[in-house]
Symmetry: C2
């Protein structure tokens, strides 16, 4: 049983599971599938089934990792580069951007 | 400098940075913002600027974490529950689902 998962490890697991199929489908088709998964998450969030919501969150991050794999992007590196403990705009934590 | 990030740690960082603002915006508004970030990722993927693509990936996972925070979902737990090293449908790695 896995108890803690690095973003990078999760992306690598998705690569082992799905890279061949993701590559064949391509970036456009995988992006469209991710859009569809996000729509399903939106529908689940309008309901009361928390387990369904959790599964849809898992699907969105899974398809995001698949899309990152075939786009040559390291999701963990991307998050570290943009969100290293502070807001990328105001450089503070918590964010104090004047919206 | 952060070198490795658990999905859970990333979600907690997003909570420290943005939870108050995310809560005020609410689930619907945060979901709509995530949809918009995914659209921006799609546009970046059509171009040649890999740095822009990386930043859009970071934004999508960041807004997904924000949405999970205000929805009471632990993203890491969600991924472990659904994708624990094998395909949730065929139970194999790599996936061998007959699509």
């Amino acid at each position: 049983m896995v108890n803690a998962v690095h973003i990078h490890e999760f992306q690598e697991m998705m690569k082992r599971l799905y890279f061949q199929r993701d590559s064949q489908r391509g970036i456009k088709g995988t992006y469209d599938w991710l859009v569809d998964e996000l729509r399903e998450l939106g529908e689940a969030l309008e309901g009361e089934d928390k387990e369904a919501v959790e599964k849809e969150f898992a699907d969105v991050i899974a398809w995001l990792a698949s899309l990152a794999n075939i786009s040559g992007i390291d999701l963990e590196r991307a998050t570290i580069n943009k969100y290293a403990g502070k807001c990328p705009k105001c450089r503070r934590s918590p964010c104090q951007c004047p919206f």
